[in-house]
């Protein structure tokens, strides 16, 4: 590869460190009788510190400092008011921003609210579409259930960029759906470049994450419970509402977690299927970092997102303390 960046001293130092560590472990296994097995976890511990903890601390560091490295809360104020920097500079110049008609810039907050709303809608649609699918698949009289589960997994194995691009060729102005419509003598529809298209792409990508946990919790239910309810005179609707549904709730909670979390941070889908005003929080963070080149504000935005995710995870864990239904691929 001619275009590969040459490793600098830092690369070599890290590589050497890694090799030395593995070598040390190998040596200690070979020669020392009394070696403690817990030592084997040390290289990984070091790796975690270097590549997970320190990077996270860096996000924290950039979020609370300005470009010069001094402590500041301005990055969070910029989240609240995207014109904050401008305001500050104007006031320093002795100009009242209100006189110039510059109000609070609400882009960042609006994007966050929009992302949360889209993630909520996506989760809701996945739940409404996915629960019946899981229920029908888990039905004992339905022999194809296990095969269908595999059929649900297969599309997830496709690269998510490609899955999203696949929708593009269906929805485009000259795409398959519009060609079909024209062939039928119907007017063309504008299917892409709006929130609905983004939502469609999200549901398409995340639906299986909702179906599996629910299917798992339904499939492992003790069937005798619902039979007992029937024997005791409940009709099938009442049995479902009072027995099957409550017992499947842990799976529902897992499903909600597995759909909502990636939905909030959705990245790329809005850019491909959406129009100019469908930017989501993941794209905003990326744009702040790479296009606007503002790591400080970008870090603050990342931090806000992480806190939101941790909060929702904690809430959802409370609803499903055993983490049932998770652990599916």
């Amino acid at each position: 590869m001619n275009n590969m960046a040459l490793p600098s001293w830092a690369n070599w130092a890290m590589l050497l460190g890694l090799v030395a560590f593995i070598g040390m472990i190998a040596l200690s296994i070979r020669r020392n009788r009394g070696v403690k097995r817990s030592l084997f976890a040390y290289p990984y511990g070091l790796w975690i510190v270097a590549f997970t903890l320190i990077p996270l601390l860096l996000i924290g560091y950039y979020a609370f400092t300005d470009r010069a490295g001094a402590f500041t809360l301005d990055n969070f104020k910029t989240f609240w008011d995207s014109n904050y920097e401008m305001h500050k500079q104007l006031i320093e110049l002795g100009v009242n921003p209100a006189d110039l008609g510059i109000a609070r810039g609400n882009v960042n907050v609006d994007t966050l609210v929009y992302s949360l709303w889209m993630a909520f809608m996506c989760t809701l649609i996945c739940l409404v579409m996915g629960y019946p699918a899981a229920l029908f698949m888990a039905d004992r009289s339905f022999k194809l259930g296990a095969t269908l589960v595999i059929l649900f997994i297969i599309p997830m194995w496709m690269n998510f960029l490609l899955r999203t691009i696949a929708w593009m060729s269906l929805l485009e102005d000259n795409g398959l759906i519009n060609t079909l419509l024209t062939a039928l003598g119907l007017p063309k529809m504008r299917l892409m470049y709006n929130s609905q298209a983004v939502l469609l792409g999200m549901v398409y990508n995340y639906l299986p994450f909702m179906v599996f946990p629910i299917y798992n919790s339904l499939a492992k239910q003790d069937r005798r419970l619902s039979e007992a309810a029937m024997d005791l005179g409940a009709n099938s609707r009442l049995t479902f509402l009072k027995v099957t549904l409550p017992l499947s709730l842990p799976g529902v909670v897992s499903g909600i977690t597995m759909v909502f979390m990636p939905s909030v941070t959705t990245f790329f889908i809005p850019r491909v299927l959406g129009g100019g005003n469908t930017e989501m929080f993941g794209d905003l963070i990326e744009r702040t970092f790479l296009s606007a080149d503002n790591w400080n504000v970008g870090s603050a935005l990342s931090l806000i997102m992480m806190v939101l995710i941790l909060m929702s995870l904690t809430l959802l864990r409370k609803a499903d303390p055993e983490g049932e239904g998770s652990g599916t691929l």
Partner: protein, 257 residues
């Protein structure tokens, strides 16, 4: 009636999931450029694909990084799992929390935090930095596939080996490793697959000069999609399908035994 409804519903959902993929694969064999009109069957785009230098470069980067990252992550992760398993309750809890952090973190934050690390330590972003990032997100999956195997193991067999005169190294190789091997292989395959498929983290940890297939698809998608991308998708789909069938087969075999 209700049976027909149920089957009809499931069929609709499956159609929803498969129509885009099928359309994409069919298009990859379309002789014309149009995405809506069928202009005859051809392997044209597959030939273009093989002749495209940038795609072949990206393929090379993707596969070598996936192999290297899987190998490094498997070694580190297996050692870590053995170590964590032998630890006392408290350090064990700390290690497991640390293992879970990267798994709950959104990809975009993982990618960005690593990007900041590389900028801060002046490690140039490229092949090497992407490799390190891939190892980082792979290790937890290896640990989580090896740990259950360690828990299933008879606690006393390792000690018995030591009592019978085996050195710890020998006991590790002849007693522990064979017992956890299925988990190790599952972890390695899982790592390889995750690494092949990753976009977000690679995007932030590489430079535009060193692209893997995902980041290449991303930059191409912004310019408008060429039919070669369809051919590439079809191939990647089939490759991942075969790989994950392998992983699943292993997992189910391991569950049975």
């Amino acid at each position: 009636m209700s049976k027909i409804f149920k089957r009809g519903y499931l069929t609709l959902i499956l159609l929803f999931l498969y129509v885009p993929i099928v359309v994409l694969i069919v298009q990859s064999f379309n002789a014309g450029v149009s995405r809506a009109k069928w202009e005859g069957f051809s392997f044209r785009w597959y030939i273009d694909l093989i002749n495209s230098q940038s795609i072949m470069n990206a393929l090379y980067v993707t596969v070598t990084i996936a192999l290297l990252a899987a190998a490094i992550a498997t070694v580190l992760g297996t050692l870590a799992a053995i170590g964590i398993h032998a630890m006392n309750k408290r350090p064990q809890g700390i290690m497991m929390t640390m293992t879970n952090i990267p798994m709950t973190m959104p990809d975009i934050v993982t990618g960005i935090s690593l990007m900041l690390l590389y900028i801060f330590t002046q490690i140039p972003r490229g092949y090497f930095s992407m490799l390190l990032a891939h190892v980082t997100f792979n290790i937890p999956y290896v640990i989580l596939s090896v740990l259950p195997k360690l828990k299933q193991m008879n606690k006393h067999s390792y000690e018995a080996a030591l009592d019978l005169g085996a050195t710890p190294g020998y006991a590790l190789r002849r007693v522990i490793l064979p017992a956890v091997m299925p988990g190790v292989i599952t972890g390695a395959l899982l790592s390889f697959t995750l690494s092949l498929d990753d976009f977000t983290i690679s995007y932030f940890t590489t430079s535009p000069l060193v692209q893997n297939l995902s980041t290449l698809i991303y930059s191409e998608a912004r310019k408008g999609i060429k039919p070669t991308m369809n051919a590439l998708s079809a191939l990647m789909f089939v490759a991942l399908l075969v790989l994950l069938l392998l992983v699943n087969r292993r997992a189910s075999l391991a569950n049975e035994s």
